[in-house]
């Protein structure tokens, strides 16, 4: 079981170099909106950071910024202009009505205090569950078929769970073998570097999140070899972050067998089709109808064999 615990974070502020940030962002072809979404601020804030209007920002945001720009934190810091006075934390968004101190009649204050006291009392009386208040435990597991044939699409599932549940910003990186083509991702991936085979998602994780994709070994891939997968997920919440490697299945053997035929007997039996549907149901939005039909046809017919000339499967009764 792959489990990581979020370390504690600091609330310090740092001075960043807006010019460097703009240059790094533009070099990576990232929009301000994209960076703002990942860091969790507005595009106006990113614009202010880049224009050096507010060069001091929270360290946790600087770390997120460095992560999305794919550089070390030190690279985006403004080392030449060290602050001589304690740094004042800049506003990340324009102050809204919530930032203004309430000026109401004393009665309203009393009601608010009374409600707060009631909520506080209720929270104190509430019996705690095992993980409540505890450091979150994160697990990331990849699910792969044991084998796949060249040129045949197969699903890859990465399940990330966080206990206790919460909302976390997350970056998932998956290193797909270069012999494999990525057909489609769910949710849609943020980037795919075809040269390195790195697939990247940026999004939110709650208690259980699935990242999935359809992969297809190139038809020229030699039977007898294997495909190796690796990946990591970086989760952030507030000032805390953790990077965990994705555990579970990491290799797929290249054989002339259907990926759903788990025991390799050239049939897809009831147990195998039920297992496959459990997985495919979770990634239905990936457009897996073709895979489902393929599996059903083999199940209904009784068996299949590999056809060397076409490089595909032939259904046999």
């Amino acid at each position: 079981m792959n489990e990581e615990i979020l370390p504690g974070g600091s609330q310090a502020v740092v001075r960043i170099d807006g010019t460097k940030i703009r240059a790094l962002r533009e070099r990576k072809d990232l929009t301000q909106l994209y960076v703002a979404t990942v860091v969790g601020v507005t595009t106006d804030t990113i614009s202010r950071w880049e224009n050096r209007r507010y060069p001091t920002i929270k360290q946790e945001n600087a770390l997120k910024l460095a992560e999305v720009l794919d550089v070390e934190l030190a690279e985006i810091l403004d080392v030449e202009n060290e602050p001589d006075a304690p740094l004042a934390e800049e506003p990340e968004t324009a102050p809204g009505p919530a930032d203004v101190a309430p000026k109401g009649p004393p009665l309203l204050t009393i009601v608010v205090v009374a409600i707060s006291l009631l909520i506080g009392a209720a929270l104190l009386l509430k019996p705690k569950t095992v993980n409540e208040g505890a450091t979150p435990i994160i697990t990331a597991r990849r699910l792969l078929p044991s084998h796949v044939a060249p040129g045949q699409s197969f699903p890859v599932l990465i399940r990330i769970s966080v206990n206790p549940p919460g909302t976390y910003s997350m970056i998932v990186r998956e290193s797909v073998p270069l012999d494999c083509l990525v057909i489609k991702g769910l949710p849609s991936y943020a980037a795919l570097d075809e040269k390195s085979g790195e697939l990247k998602w940026i999004g939110k994780a709650t208690d259980a999140t699935i990242f999935a994709y359809l992969a297809r070994p190139k038809p020229s891939t030699a039977v007898g070899g294997q495909l190796t997968f690796a990946g990591a997920a970086t989760l952030k919440q507030g000032g805390e972050s953790a990077r965990i490697s994705i555990k579970g299945d990491d290799t797929v053997a290249l054989q002339q067998l259907h990926w759903a035929d788990d025991n390799g007997d050239h049939r897809i039996d009831d147990e195998e089709i039920l297992a496959v549907y459990d997985q495919l149901e979770a990634i239905a939005q990936l457009g897996v109808n073709e895979l489902q039909t393929d599996v059903e046809d083999i199940w209904a017919a009784g068996g299949y064999r590999w056809d060397e000339t076409t490089g595909g499967f032939v259904i046999v009764p």
Binding site: K126, D270, E271, L274, A275, Y277, E281, A300
Partner: protein, 143 residues
């Protein structure tokens, strides 16, 4: 008499305490209400003459997929099946429905045969993965 009164008060106090604890546990979602009904069940409506009819009851949450198997006398042919069977082999008499996108509630199944069921004991089976436990469940169906 006095002891009896003390015992009664203690018993009432304990019962009240247990009710209070149960109330708090229920609020926290610690008590799982166990459903007496099975997730999936199936029964024969008819298994005589030239027709076999079944009723499948699906509970909540429904499984992602379910396979309903019906064994018929070997060599007998199906003249009509509603819904159509996905797979039938007259040599073994094994008919299978592959059911997907299920929703809770009853489902009717019917098979018309080209011969009479002359007192043979037919039987069936339901196979599915329990969505809660992830385990494969197999249930026999008998008239």
């Amino acid at each position: 008499m006095l002891r009896c009164g003390v015992r009664k008060r203690r018993a009432r106090g304990a019962a009240q305490l247990m009710l209070l604890i149960a109330f708090f546990l229920l609020l926290q979602g610690e008590i799982v209400v166990v459903q007496a009904d099975e997730l999936v069940s199936c029964r024969y409506q008819q298994a005589t003459g030239r027709n076999v009819s079944l009723v499948l009851e699906i509970g909540s949450p429904p499984p992602a997929m379910l396979i309903l198997v019906q064994w018929l006398p070997k060599g007998m042919n199906i003249t009509r099946a509603l819904p159509p069977v996905k797979k039938y082999d007259p040599r073994t008499g094994e008919a299978k429905w592959l059911l997907k996108q299920l929703s809770s509630g009853p489902m009717q199944f019917s098979i018309d045969l080209d011969g009479e069921l002359s007192g043979e004991l037919i039987h069936g089976e339901i196979r599915y993965k329990n969505p809660t436990t992830g385990k494969m469940e197999i249930m026999a169906i008998r008239p």
